[in-house]
């Protein structure tokens, strides 16, 4: 969940990247950094109160020394370090991606299915949601055997549930709630 601080930094970075026409590279670099900073060994160090801003900046410089990053991303990381906001990087990335998707007119959907989907079926689902939303769909497919059968799609904060598990739950609820006359 993104915090208000993370959203503010993300908006600032998004604005700068858009002006520099570097949205895609910055997004890719943030994705890399997110994976690195989400590491359980690194995250506690970045959030430690013992780390002074100067030491954080030094640490960021060392970490990014061997990674090819744009000047914009490097400067952004230094600003985060100086303001002791490196622990917000994950939230910054999430909100940056949301802003990026909105700017490009695309949405991200998660497709959960009881068994692995064939590429054709996955394309059909993506096409159906593109038709439904009028936006480009970036899909992430997950296999979830607990669904028993069918498929469940999460898109734009909504859940489109076509799973057998849910249908069985509905059936059970109807059976439990039905009245009988003795």
């Amino acid at each position: 969940m993104t915090t208000r601080v993370a959203r503010r930094y993300a908006k600032a970075l998004f604005s700068l990247a858009r002006d520099a026409q570097a949205l895609e590279p910055v997004a890719a670099e943030l994705r890399q950094l997110r994976q690195a900073f989400d590491d359980p060994a690194i995250a506690p160090v970045l959030a430690s109160p013992l780390m002074t801003p100067a030491r954080l900046v030094s640490l960021v410089d060392q970490l990014t020394q061997h990674v090819a990053l744009s000047i914009l991303t490097k400067n952004f990381l230094r600003v985060l370090a100086e303001n002791r906001r490196l622990d917000q990087l994950v939230g910054v990335y999430d909100h940056f991606e949301a802003l990026h998707d909105r700017a490009l007119g695309r949405i991200r959907v998660t497709i959960r299915s009881a068994a692995a989907l064939s590429p054709e079926r996955q394309r059909e689902i993506v096409a159906a949601f593109e038709q439904r939303t009028g936006k480009t769909v970036l899909a992430t497919a997950i296999t979830d055997a607990a669904l028993l059968g069918g498929v469940l799609v999460e898109a734009e904060g909504k859940v489109y549930d076509g799973s057998l598990r849910t249908q069985l739950e509905h059936l059970a609820n109807e059976m439990a709630g039905a009245r009988t006359y003795l």
């Binding site: 068994a115 064939s118 079926r121 059909e124 689902i125 069985l168 059970a172 009988t180």
Partner: protein
């Protein structure tokens, strides 16, 4: 000085002024064997003084005593008459009440009977109402217990049925079925998009 006091005074003064002449006359008369005027005079004077003393000192006291006694007697007579009147009035009242006592007793008895009957009816109605409430509570409680038992039974059956259905789906669901479900889902999404 009052008139009553002046008359004896004048009589006394006149008598005293005549005393020397009367004394000489009396002595001469006595010596000549006549009437003893002086003796009579002194006796008369003594009697007059006695009368004056009685009239002047004793009579007012006697008169006041007699008047006070008269007033007391009159007041006591009036008080006695008042007491008698009140007693007679009280007697008349009691006689009237005694005369009406039978009727009053009958009225009290009738009133008490009516009150008792009314109270009995009230108690009977309250008892009937309470009994009805108890019966309704018992009915509701029984119905509630039946509903709870029914719900528990239904829940158990539903759980069993759900578990069986889940197991059946896991055992018998084929890839073709899964593919059909996905196809139906896609169709529904497309239809709702229109």
């Amino acid at each position: 000085m009052s008139r009553r006091g002046r008359v004896p005074g004048l009589a006394l003064a006149t008598t005293l002024s005549l005393l020397p002449a009367l004394a000489r006359g009396s002595e001469a008369a006595h010596e000549q064997g006549g009437i003893p005027w002086m003796t009579l005079l002194f006796t008369f004077v003594n009697f007059a003084i006695f009368c004056w003393l009685i009239a002047h000192y004793a009579m007012p006291l006697l008169r006041d005593y007699a008047r006070g006694r008269h007033d007391r007697v009159v007041a006591e007579l009036e008080a006695a008459a008042q007491t008698r009147r009140e007693a007679e009035q009280l007697k008349a009242q009691w006689e009237a009440r005694l005369a009406a006592l039978d009727k009053e007793v009958q009225e009290i008895r009738a009133q008490a009977t009516a009150d008792a009957a009314r109270e009995r009816d009230t108690l009977l109605r309250a008892a009937a109402k309470t009994a009805e409430a108890i019966r309704n509570d018992a009915r509701r409680t029984a119905a509630q217990e039946v509903r709870q038992a029914e719900a528990a039974l239904r829940q158990a059956v539903v759980q069993q049925a759900t578990a069986l259905a889940t197991q059946l789906v896991r055992d018998r669901l084929t890839p073709a079925d899964q593919d059909r479900f996905v196809g139906e889902f896609v169709t529904q999404v497309r239809e709702t998009a229109r």
